[in-house]
Symmetry: C2
Subunit: 407 residues, 2 copies
Amino acid sequence: MARCVLKFGGTSVANVTRLEHVAEIIKQEIDAGNQIAVVVSAMAGNTNELVGYTHSLCSHQATLEHDVVLAAGEQITSGLLALALQRLGLKSRSFLAWQVPIQTDDSPSHARITNIPTIELEKCFKNNIVPVVAGFQGITKENRITTLGRGGSDTTAVALAAALSADRCDIYTDVDGVYTADPRLVAKASKLSSITYEEMFEMAAQGAKVLQARSVELAMKHKVNLRVLSSFIKSKGTYITSERNLVESTVISGIAHNQNEVKITLVDIPNEAANIATIFGKLTENLINVDMIVQSCSLNNKMNLTFTLLRSDLDRALPVLEKIKKELNFSEIIVDNEIVKISVIGIGMKCNMEVASTLFKTLAEHNIHIQLISTSEIKISVIIDQHYTPLAVAALHTAFDLDEKKT
Amino acid sequence: MARCVLKFGGTSVANVTRLEHVAEIIKQEIDAGNQIAVVVSAMAGNTNELVGYTHSLCSHQATLEHDVVLAAGEQITSGLLALALQRLGLKSRSFLAWQVPIQTDDSPSHARITNIPTIELEKCFKNNIVPVVAGFQGITKENRITTLGRGGSDTTAVALAAALSADRCDIYTDVDGVYTADPRLVAKASKLSSITYEEMFEMAAQGAKVLQARSVELAMKHKVNLRVLSSFIKSKGTYITSERNLVESTVISGIAHNQNEVKITLVDIPNEAANIATIFGKLTENLINVDMIVQSCSLNNKMNLTFTLLRSDLDRALPVLEKIKKELNFSEIIVDNEIVKISVIGIGMKCNMEVASTLFKTLAEHNIHIQLISTSEIKISVIIDQHYTPLAVAALHTAFDLDEKKT
C-alpha cells in the first residue's frame, strides 16, 4: 500500500465529463490498495472569469477580498469531484482550506503555506474516505482566506504530500510529462523520463508552464517524489527526483521560453549608490518582483537601469516608477513589450563551460541580438526580441543535441 | 443612528455594474449615519449554473457536497461587493458562514439556522467596517457547509437582523414591493404600502416569489421590521409589520399563484388506518414535503389519496411511491403536472365568512373546476387547471376589490 497525493489541474477538471474521468483514475488507485488524498484546481477558465470580475472593481489585485472571490473556483471543483467519487461507490468528502486547515502567512494572492495539520485527513484515511482538498487556497491566523498565486494548487499538493509523508505526489495535467522544449514550438522536442528538482525548478521559473516553480522548490526541500503525467492519455509521465536518469545524462535537460515579462529601462539616473536601493525598495514594497537586472553607465555621472518584470505587474509598476522618476529626477521610462526570455537549463552545466559559448554562437548564427543575460549554476537566460522565439528555441534545441532521436 | 441589515438578491448583484450601484446605496446609508451589515445572494444565474453541474453528477440534490458547490456563489458576490465598497472609500470585508459563524443544523440543502454569534460583526461596527455576509450558507457543528434552500439569503438577512437587534431589515430585490397579485398577470395589481407578517407568510408560502416564506416566519417570531424594496428604482417599498395600515384594511391583501407543484393521486389504497401514516412517513423520511392532501373513499373498502408536492421533488418522490405501491398493493399512481394553486390571502378573512363563497362563485362564473381546497385562518387555496391561471387570478383580483383605483 502506498500513500499518494493526486493533483488534477484546470483542463483535467474542465467539465463534468472530465471530472467523471478523473474519478475513475482515483478509483483505480484505490482499487490498487493505495491511500489517496486528492487536490484540485478550479475548472479551466473559471479562475479567469473570477479575475475578470475583481479586476473591473479593483486594478490592484493583491487584496484579501480578491482572494475570497478566487477561492470559490476550487471550492466548486472539490465538491463536484467528491460527488463524482460518491457516484462510483467510494466514500469521499471535500475539504476547503479552513476545514483542513491549510495555514498560510497573510500575503494576499501570494500567500505561503506555513503549516498543514493532518489530523482531519488522517481521520479520512482511517475511515476509507477519499478527501478532495481545494487547492490554491489557505487561511491566515485571523481566519481570512488567502490564495497561493497562479498554479498554487501544485504547491498545495506538494505541501500536502510532505505533511502526510506521502510516497508520491502525482500532478495530473494536460501534457504527458516534461519536454526538452515546448512541443508546440519545437517539433523534435522529446519527453524526459526523469529530471532533477533543480532543473525542473529552473524550467518552471523560466517559463515552462507544466508546474509552479514554488511547488518544485518545496518538493526538493521535503524530498517529495513528484511526477507529472496526463489525465488524458495513459503514460508514465516524467519523474522529478534528486538524481536524473543516467541514460539521459546530457549536459542540457531543456530549453524554456517565457513571454510573460516586459523589459523596462530607466534612463539617466543620477549615479548615486542609494538610488538603486530606492528603486528596487519601492518596487518590493508594492509587491512587484523584478527578474533580470542590468546596470550600465551613461555619460555625466548618470546611469541606465534595465530590468524585467511580469507583464501582469506592469499596470501596477508604472505609477510606482513615475513617482520614483520625479523623486530621483531621471529622464525617461522605456517599456519594451516585445521580448522573450530563452533559458537553457541543465544540471550538467555546472562543470561544462561550453554551454554559454554554444548558446551565444547559435544565436549569432541566426543574427539574433541578445539584450540581457543572466546566469545561475544550472541555467543561462537571455532576453531577445519576441519575434525570434520559435527560431531561437528550435536552433538551441538542435545545438544542444536535444532533438528526438528516432531509435 | 439606526442599525440596519440590507439584503441584495440575485438581479441586484447580477454583474459588476449592479454591484457598484448596490455599493452606492450602502454608502448613502452609511453617510446618513447608520450602522450597516449587508447580506448578499449569488449573482443571478450563478446558482442555476452550479446546480446544473451537481445535478449531472447526482440527481439526489440534498447532500453536503452539493451545498459546498452551491455556497461558492455567495462567496463570489460577498468578496466582490466588499471590493466595490472599498473602492468608494469605505472600510469593508466579506464574511463567509464559517467566519461569522452562521450555525445551522445538519440537513443538507434545507438547513435551519440555530445560532449566530455576533462578536465578529460587532467588532466590525466598532471599527466602522461594513461586513458583507454571504447569504444562503451555514455551517454545522462538525464544520461542514450547509445551505438554507432556495431564497435562503432572505432568511440569513432576517436571522442576522434578529441576532444584531437591528432596527430594520431591508430586502432589496427587482420589484419595488409586494403587490396584490403578480403584476405580470394582473395589469391592475397594486403595490401594498404595508402588509402583516401573517399575510406575507401566506403570500410567500403560496407562491409570491418576493420573499422566502421561512424568512417571514422568522421575522414574525423575532419582530424584525422588514421591508421589501427595489435596488433598481427609488421607492419606499412595502413594510411588513405586526399591523397593517388601516387605510388599506380591505378583507383580502392579495392573490398568490404557484405553478411549482404537481398533483399526485394514489388509487385504490386498502382502507386501513396505518396506510396513510406509512405513505407520508416514507415521504418525510426522504425529505419530500407534501402540501395539500385530500382523502376520498372509493368502493370495496378502498380509498384514494390526492396530494400536491413540489415539482422539483417529483423525480425523487416517484421511486419512493413506486416502492410503497408494491408494499401496500394499491393500483395506480396518477401524476398531474398541469395544475396551479391559487390562494386568496388576508388577515381580514378571520372574521369574514364571505370570502370562500366569493371565491367559489367567481371561479364558477368562469367555468373553472376546483380540484382541491385547503384553508387556514387567513387564506384559502384551490388547485385548478394551470391553463386558467391568468383568468382566475384577474377575476379574483376584481371580485375582491383589489383592482388599482386611479385616484
